[in-house]
Homo-oligomer: 230 residues x 2
Amino acid sequence: MIVEEFKRQAAETAVTAIQSGMVVGLGTGSTAVFAVRALGKLLQDGRLHTIVAIPTSEATAREAERVGIPLTTLDQHPLIDVGIDGADEITPTLDLIKGLGGALLREKIITLATKRFIVIADSSKKVPRLGIRAPLPVEVIPFARQPVHDYLVSLGARPVLRARQGQPFITDEGNIILDCHFDNGIPDPLWLAQAIKQRPGVVEHGLFLGLAQTAVIAGTTGIELLGQPL
Amino acid sequence: MIVEEFKRQAAETAVTAIQSGMVVGLGTGSTAVFAVRALGKLLQDGRLHTIVAIPTSEATAREAERVGIPLTTLDQHPLIDVGIDGADEITPTLDLIKGLGGALLREKIITLATKRFIVIADSSKKVPRLGIRAPLPVEVIPFARQPVHDYLVSLGARPVLRARQGQPFITDEGNIILDCHFDNGIPDPLWLAQAIKQRPGVVEHGLFLGLAQTAVIAGTTGIELLGQPL
């Protein structure tokens, strides 16, 4: 799979921004896992030391432990030096849709606590504007599924309950995901982000606006850097 | 306890607004429980029939079942005719602080789906402005406790983790509560409500602004009605 190779290249480029002594945020998903493994290898090789990391999901915590990355919590380390995570869509101004991996809530909490957030992706994730390629995931309290569904429709979305093996997908926090499709993309992401989050029963959504400082994107033409240098 | 008598009087007055065939929202807490019992009695006496009710907590669900009120869900009945619930503070314009009972999230989801929300209280809950008498509860994902705490401090609050028997109090949705104290009340509740809810890791808060249509308040001088008539 050539796409897997692009994901690995982006991840291995991004981890060069990590220095010994740092607190690192670890993302979730098929791209972020390459960053976890690359960081584990740098620690095993002795090229980095005294790193502690905060994982954005139970799955990432297990993978980090497997490759020997010491873990910590936001309670112990409320400020993160560098965070590395994937995205489902990336615009030229580094606005993102995230959450296909199912961990958008912890990912956003971590990102808010991060001084420098580096998003990594293969080039298929580049979009001219948000909502064209990927649905927007909205994490919802199960109790509020029906009213929040109807509210999202009133905002112009087509919400689809995320399922896995015929059952509703359940997040690490015990919530459901409504994947919101938009016929012609999202016209005003900032307005939509506020309108969705204000609604009782909504826990979080996958719009990450103005949060990424750097994007590392790998494709057939090589590695492209957007935003601040590594 | 004379205060208990006032709570009972307010509850028994409010349930007169319920008519046969209605979908009813049932609140949580020491005042709302009197409304649950009063509704149960009206059903047992045959003065009301074909009622279905949606409870705002597991505790209220158990009490409703005990007194013979048939329960339903928001999925089955997305629109509620009348909701009755207590509050910790009530202003003259019917803005509320709720959540001392620990069920503010489901209470707010239910209230948003309610055509007519009646708040019931003893007269000690009346305040000239919000945040004077009661702390403002904020329901938070446990993972985000420290960053949300620091954010609430930046908004002028003194957040205190709600505890029960020496352990963090856990809501029906598995979250923690930060009770926010304000030295001179809340200057701008609408602004504060939006600022708190926007923060990743915040699930909901106890500000109920513009949501109640009627207040039934019982005290030494009798029963007072605010807002729309019953």
